[in-house]
């Protein structure tokens, strides 16, 4: 699978990672090589095979829908690069 620089830029934007011209160029080759290599999987017959979802048969655990934790906003926002009154601060998003 060959991908071009434009696709690299598109994916990078989807992933919210800024890439420089040089990085995009290098990634074009690297990602193409990796995607070509994983293309080997097309050789495997996976008709009538369920995708693996867990290593051991397990039933999804259920619990009561109730609050079990929380009530400590200062601890939650403690590591934020910017916070005010226990809120995270971000650049203006609504005019």
């Amino acid at each position: 699978m060959q991908i071009n620089e434009e696709t690299v830029r598109k994916i990078a934007h989807l992933a919210r990672v800024k890439v420089t011209q040089d990085e995009a160029k290098a990634l074009e080759g690297e990602l193409s090589a990796i995607l070509t290599w994983v293309g080997e999987l097309d050789e495997v017959d996976t008709n009538d095979v369920e995708p693996m979802t867990s290593a051991v048969e397990t039933a999804m655990k259920m619990r009561e829908d109730e609050v079990t934790d929380g009530g400590y906003a200062p601890r939650v926002t403690k590591n934020a690069p910017m916070s005010e009154d226990n809120f995270f601060v971000v650049p203006k998003v609504v005019e």
Binding site: I3, T7, V8, I11, A12, H13, L14, A15, R16, V17, K18, V19, E23, L27, E30, L31, A33, I34, L35, W37, V38, G39, E40, L41, D42, E43, V44, T46, V49, E50, P51, M52, T53, S54, A55, V56, T58, M60, K61, R63, Y72, R75, V76, K78, N79, A80, P81, M82, F88, V90, P91, K92, V93
Partner: protein
């Protein structure tokens, strides 16, 4: 006092209980060794000596009162992927710059509960993505081993390079590690240590920085099989905070370890005999087979036909899950923030400067394979291939108890030797990654040396939740290999 650092955990526990030495002396001996060697090895990225001595003092008090836990007074290194309350945790990434978790991971909680002492946080590949510990934001970790007559610096393997290097150089009695595609077993093989990756779900993932959630599993790196059993005993638990942690009792692994291997059947998967595998690896594998025959086990060649597809499938599943897990690093909640023209620009700048090249590469691969129109062709296909891989193991495990393979296709390589080509680096995990894809337990045990004097490991793979069989067969290798050389202390 320097000989205290040479004790296994089992020996040290006896010495502590007998009052031969105190927990504070035992911890101080390790702190002295860290002081001496860490500059050269860069295994600890954050030693916590004050905390260590404080915890050791508390251990001495509990020992005095006859209340010693299973790991009372045992000084451990903690991979910097485990969140430790109020102690900086970064996954060796710049994006988690200065992050001090307000909580403790379940695994480390279990360890402290059992009386263990924290010496500090250990180096790893950024977000555990790598096989050489060269992608760490805090610089590479160095292998205490060197080739005979050669001063070239070698990698300790990865991603748990700091854990393996610190245990091999006796900077800690044992270390925590994590394994997503081989990150416990490959560095253990490269450093002559024992690395145990438990069955998926045996150990809680809560509070461990997530990489690929369907593959990640924590385990110990130690200097003996018995120590690995003891560490797992404490690390394993059912945890309501991790829905994938399994609600079944933790068996007594030390009892299981003492059982006989006579009559067990050891499977030898023929697909693990790959092109480019060194003759000395092949010879070591053969030696392992002989050891099991001598111990009275049956040996049988088996086939795992989908083996070669495990690595390419892994490089879809792991990046896909990583791209999703790492979406949380946005410059808002914790860590690094780099301002921009607007919020999107701030996200993009923070992530561009916060993540290293390998992490970005995997985020982009993951984003691509999960993007509209590609999900079925890549992620779903890979998960179906995973079922095929698991079916191979299920079939084989009807006839055999454990599988024996080499851990790695080569001994430790030099710094910079494989950083040019991502695919070449990925091939390091060719023998270990199948185990993660199927969720099975695996262990690497030191079994011999290369012609250049470097450690080599053999891997055992077990049935789900049969860590007991792994440990008892690992013990056979450990005993048959006998006393193996230790690295020369070139670091002064």
């Amino acid at each position: 006092m320097s000989d205290l650092i040479d004790l296994t955990i089992v020996e040290a526990r006896e010495g502590l209980d007998n009052g031969d030495f105190s927990a504070q002396e035992y911890t101080q001996a390790h702190l002295d060794q860290i002081e001496q060697a860490n500059k050269a090895l860069n295994a600890f990225i954050l030693p916590t000596p004050e905390k260590a001595l404080e915890m050791a003092k508390a251990s001495d008090e509990r020992i005095g009162k006859g209340e010693a836990g299973l790991l009372e007074g045992v000084p451990l290194g903690i991979k910097d992927l485990f969140c430790t309350k109020d102690v900086r945790t970064t996954a060796c990434s710049h994006i988690l710059n200065g992050f001090e978790p307000p909580y403790e991971s379940t695994v480390t909680s279990n360890l402290w509960e059992a009386g263990a002492v924290m010496l500090g946080k250990l180096n790893l590949d950024e977000f555990a993505m790598g096989s050489s510990n060269e992608t760490s934001y805090y610089g590479p970790c160095i292998n205490p081993w060197r080739r005979d007559g050669d001063e070239a610096q070698l990698v300790p393997g990865g991603s748990s390079g700091g854990s393996a290097s610190a245990v091999a150089a006796h900077l800690c009695a044992a270390a925590t590690a994590t394994d997503t595609g081989g990150s416990i077993r490959q560095p253990a093989a490269f450093t002559g240590t024992v690395g145990l990756k438990p069955t998926y779900g045996r150990v809680s993932r809560w509070g461990i920085v997530a990489f690929a959630s369907s593959l990640d599993q924590a385990g110990p790196i130690t200097r003996s099989v018995e120590d690995a059993a003891l560490m797992l005993q404490v690390m394993a638990s059912h945890d309501e905070k991790d829905t994938t942690s399994v609600d079944r009792p933790v068996p007594d692994y030390r009892v299981a370890m003492g059982e006989k291997v006579k009559g067990l059947t050891i499977g030898i998967p023929k697909e693990y005999r790959v092109d480019g595998m060194g003759q000395e690896i092949e010879d070591l594998w053969q030696q392992g087979i002989e050891w099991f025959k001598e111990a009275g086990a049956n040996v049988k060649e088996v086939s795992l036909p989908h083996t070669k597809y495990a690595l390419p499938a892994y490089y879809i599943v792991a990046p896909a899950e990583a791209s999703s897990n790492l979406a949380r690093y946005d410059g808002v909640k914790y860590g690094l923030r780099v301002e921009g023209d607007d919020i999107i620009d701030m996200y993009e700048n923070s992530r561009a400067q916060g993540f290293g090249a390998e992490v970005k590469r995997r985020i982009l691969i993951g984003t691509y394979v999960l993007s509209a129109g590609y999900y079925d062709a890549y992620y779903l296909k890979a998960q179906k291939v995973r079922t095929r891989i698991k079916q191979d193991f299920d079939t084989v495990f009807q006839d055999v108890d454990v599988l024996l393979t080499p851990t790695t296709p080569s001994p430790a390589f030099a710094m910079g030797e494989k950083t040019g080509d991502p695919l070449e680096m990925y091939l390091n995990d060719i023998f270990t990654v199948t185990v993660n894809m199927a969720g099975l337990p695996g262990i690497s045990v030191p079994a011999g040396q290369s012609s250049t004097g470097l450690p080599l490991g053999l891997q055992l793979i077990g049935k789900p939740f049969d860590e007991g069989s792994l440990l008892k067969t690992a013990k056979i290798i450990e005993e048959a290999a006998g006393e193996l050389p230790q690295p020369e202390k070139w670091w002064g």
